[in-house]
Symmetry: none
Subunit: 237 residues, 2 copies
DNA sequence: CCCGAAAGAGGTATTTATTCCTCTAAATAT
DNA sequence: ATATTTAGAGGAATAAATACCTCTTTCGGG
């Protein structure tokens, strides 16, 4: 998400980072010095004014700021704003343990080189020792973690999802991700059971879950019996 | 840096990701369906038109895309463009080593709450919406990534490792990790074939690999035919 | 302290992005 | 095959962002 406040805050932070005022930053970028005046961030009728993408591109160029850097400047504001309100997702804990996680959740993620397996065999992707090399690699952030600061890990118990998930495997779960038929999901029932399954079918009245291990029968629940459902996004191997 | 092309490409990718046309994405965001027409990305005098930050915020909200995700969509284009020029990360070093990649390895890793599935059903681990809550959670660094700056991702092709890995799934590979019988591995042969398999047996003269998909026969190689072998540590779901 | 430069509020003019509209082509539904 | 809907080119109108300008306040240097 992106909000008006955040964008303006990022501009202010970028200026500050370079020991500039908003006015000075605009000038450096070849824009009029009043472009980013605080007095002009809302129109007289109260409507929010958004800086143009072009202006943003210009200040990034003028300060040599990467997109990633600008995004961090945007998100700094966001994390500060959301953290106090985060009680909506995390029970406010005196220990502040979860709050701490929330803060680190905004830490920039690693870039990971990625290539299609079908092309990986072609020359130039690996050195002799099997390490990635060459210029054919794309970059991704760790896939699936970009947009959810609320992921958690569960350690597998049982054999109902063999061979996918073995005893002791770790699965990464995203409570914010959308869930569709065929997805691998974690479900908590109103009975208090938490299970990893495959979503076979879901409609307004019932939920059908299957196991990867054929020896385990499908499970059927009414929607009322399902407390929550979250998608599994990663599994350890 | 941010360029006109990149921003428009990101919008197109976001649309595509949601099985929408530019026209459809605009409509979903409450904008006029012609807002992102390709014909309107340059003015008649040839001047580039930039979509407004407000429009971008609206499409992000309409598609539930995070800023990080949108940035990645921008950077996909960028990584293709920059890869040749970005020698800082993948320039053909004489050693072919990943000095640049090594640098990104310094990025801080995320803490993730983790709990055993067997105890997850007990009260106090989740709030009503299924988000982690309470104090029973341990914290881990993203499991498996702590000590290896050389991981990379491969996108699966083929069906030999169904149901574990489906076409298009992403696997994370650690070339530095040790490999044991039973591990899920990526292997490159001297013939240039790169494959994901299960290590069934390995000794000083031979390597036997099996597929998760029983319809695919085991593969046997002499040790000399194996260029390298690396362990799969994570798989997308 | 004084003076010049910079910052920034506030107003108008200009430029630029979106909206509205018409129309054609393509895609989809019947 | 026909009818309907959607996508999108292209043009004019409208809304919104920047540029230009005046003026006041603040800041920095002598």
């Amino acid at each position: 998400m992106l909000s008006h406040d955040e964008v303006w805050a990022a501009i202010d932070r970028l200026a500050e980072k370079h020991d500039l005022t908003p006015s000075g930053l605009a000038k450096r970028a070849g824009l009029d010095s009043t472009t980013f005046n605080k007095s002009k961030r809302f129109a007289v009728d109260g409507r929010a004014r958004w800086p143009s993408t072009e202006s943003i591109a210009k200040i990034m160029e003028a300060t040599d700021a990467s997109l990633h850097e600008f995004m961090d400047l945007v998100q700094q504001h966001k994390s500060h704003v959301l953290a106090p309100a985060s009680g909506e997702k995390y029970s406010p804990q005196p220990s502040g343990q979860i709050l701490g996680f929330h803060e680190t959740g905004q830490t920039p993620l690693r870039d990971i080189p990625v290539v299609g397996m079908a092309q990986a065999g072609a020359g130039g992707f690996f050195d002799d020792a099997g390490f990635p090399a060459g210029q054919g690699w794309d970059q991704v952030q760790f896939p699936g973690l970009e947009d959810d600061g609320h992921i958690y890990a569960l350690e597998i118990s049982g054999d109902s999802m063999l061979p996918l998930y073995r005893e002791g495997d770790t699965i990464i779960v995203s409570p914010g991700a959308s869930v569709r038929k065929g997805d691998r999901v974690v479900v908590k029932t109103t009975d208090g059971e938490v299970m990893a399954k495959i979503l076979k079918r879901k409609n307004s009245t019932s939920v059908e879950l299957s196991s990867a291990n054929q020896e385990h029968a499908d499970r059927n629940f009414t929607t009322a019996q399902i407390e929550w459902m979250a998608r599994i996004i990663w599994a350890s191997q």
